[in-house]
């Protein structure tokens, strides 16, 4: 996505030994994972596994007290501004203003990244066309279906040309065709633009063969690697069985 030359071997996101507590509740324990440019990495976990906590830490809603988070070469603590400018986020909760139009929502977001109105206008047309929803530009969010709203949020997250896209359960509550369309678009971004994607979900059928998976359970990363690698390690033929087996044992593999 960027004009800079990206070193594919350097991770876009590198989380090391991350632990986070809410009072006595341990939400994340010693979590380590990496996401590379051009990879569609699925963060798989049941509800309450710690996915949203991990996203909150990566987007610096709050800081981690132990462990480290690096976005490309930038430490999220020490160079937070440069690190945050590299990522686009689609949160689990809807974050669009219902009473504003698609364009107004996108202009607002672009301004948060310091983009000029002209550039924002060009970029939003580009991104909405790619999602085939340019005709919705002047509509109020309230008038759009859940699927269209999600697409607008994805287009919005790409306005500042990030090099990594974080999505927290973006297909929850959507119908099958909307889910498919969104998945296909994000996979395309990965392959064509070499975007690094971390896709959090609890829906196993959103994982394709040949993709990377990180299994998060009760705050711990129990497994990570390509689908085939994980299947091989636990001797299963599909990722659903592997996932069930791994979370049942609760042990790291």
């Amino acid at each position: 996505m960027s004009n800079n030359v990206i070193n594919d071997k350097a991770p876009a996101l590198s989380v090391s030994n991350l632990t986070h507590h809410f009072g006595k509740l341990c939400a994340l324990e010693d979590a380590t994972l990496q996401v590379f440019p051009g990879d569609f990495t699925v963060l798989l976990g049941l509800n309450g596994a710690g996915k949203t906590t991990l996203y909150s830490l990566i987007t610096r809603l709050y800081n981690n007290r132990s462990g480290s988070i690096k976005i490309f070469d930038f430490d999220l603590h020490q160079q937070s501004s440069r690190a945050l400018s590299k990522i686009g986020v689609v949160f689990q909760q809807p974050t669009l203003d219902l009473d504003l139009t698609v364009a107004q929502n996108l202009y607002y977001y672009a301004s948060l990244h310091g983009l000029s109105k002209k550039l924002a206008g060009e970029r939003m047309k580009e991104e909405l066309s790619r999602m085939k929803i340019l005709d919705q530009l002047k509509k109020k969010i309230r008038e759009l279906s859940g699927g269209l709203r999600r697409r607008v949020e994805i287009a919005r997250a790409l306005l500042h040309k990030p090099e990594m896209l974080l999505l927290d359960e973006p297909t929850v509550g959507l119908d099958v065709s909307s889910r498919q369309a969104i998945l296909e678009h994000v996979r395309n971004l990965c392959h064509k633009d070499r975007l690094a994607v971390l896709w959090a979900t609890h829906l196993i059928d959103e994982i394709d063969e040949g993709e990377k998976v990180v299994i998060l359970h009760e705050g711990e990363v129990l497994a990570s690697g390509f689908v085939e690698e994980i299947n091989k390690k636990v001797n299963t033929s599909n990722i659903r069985d592997a996932f069930n087996l791994i979370i049942k044992s609760g042990k790291k593999i």
């Binding site: 009072g23 509740l25 939400a27 709050y62 800081n63 504003l100 107004q104 607002y108 948060l112 310091g114």
Partner: protein, 269 residues
């Protein structure tokens, strides 16, 4: 990030707040109706009960309506400050706060921009209220409308930052009824909005002390004097110090490493 980036960001946040305000006609209407009900009904009823002697900054005996007008301006800003800041913690709104905080610009700047945007909205509400109130004999000198503006900026910032701090700190205040009961009503009634403090002193010395300590009292007095082209230095100093304290607490509350927000688990995982 250059100065231009900051400027665009500030403008974007202010525009959004303005658009939201224009689109939510109900909010605009209730922001206007609330003080007008007090002015037109409450004040009319109490006009004969509460005679007001000559007090500064007024040069003559005044109608009760004239006395409570600055208090009602304060009320507009109090509601606005609480609404725009506390709405950030409601579930529906939590998402937009996260969108704001994921911006690469410094967090203090984002929060300050949001505060200023809220204050700008409250100022539009106040001048609309004053325009209607003019027909009910609230006729301050023409210069007063100009000298009021800086006072409104300061009092608006104080109340907005108080709301912002509360939104980061108090988990229990997640519905507006709680805010009404525990913040708005006590602040409003224990102030000089509806009665001069010397009247309170006649009833109870400690209540008088409490009202005097209430920063909302000083915001109102600052507004009252400014509306008549005068400066109340004590109230200015008190309001300015309170603003600095509340603003620091708000920035602290939203600081990702030390802030109170770190103790709050975001719903839905």
């Amino acid at each position: 990030m250059t100065f231009l980036h900051y400027l665009r960001c500030f403008w974007g946040i202010t525009t959004r707040e303005g658009l939201r305000f224009v689109n939510q006609r109900e909010r605009f209407l209730s922001a206007l109706v609330r003080p007008l009900v007090w002015l037109l009904i409450f004040a009319a009823g109490f006009r004969s009960v509460l005679g007001i002697s000559i007090i500064e900054p007024y040069e003559t005996y005044i109608l009760y309506e004239v006395y409570i007008a600055p208090g009602l301006i304060g009320m507009i800003q109090l509601f606005n400050g609480m609404q725009s800041s506390l709405s950030m913690v409601y579930d529906r709104e939590m998402g937009s706060m996260r969108t704001l905080l994921v911006s690469p610009l410094p967090r203090w700047f984002l929060l300050l921009s949001k505060l200023f945007a809220g204050v700008a909205v409250s100022i539009v509400q106040v001048y609309t209220f004053l325009a209607i109130a003019w027909f009910w004999e609230i006729e301050p000198p023409a210069f007063g409308y100009f000298s009021l503006l800086p006072a409104l900026v300061l009092s608006g910032l104080m109340l907005g930052s108080l709301g912002m701090f509360l939104s980061s700190a108090i988990k229990q205040l997640e519905n507006f009824a709680g805010v009404m009961n525990f913040v708005i009503f006590p602040m409003f009634f224990a102030s000089s909005a509806l009665y001069p403090l010397w009247k309170m002193k006649e009833s109870s010395e400690w209540l008088y002390e409490l009202c005097w300590l209430n920063p909302f009292t000083h915001a109102i007095e600052l507004i009252r004097f400014a509306l008549y082209g005068q400066m109340n230095w004590t109230s200015f100093a008190y309001t300015a110090i309170a603003t600095i304290i509340f603003l620091s607490l708000a920035v602290y509350g939203y600081d990702p490493s030390r802030g109170l927000i770190t103790r709050k688990k975001i719903s839905a995982d």
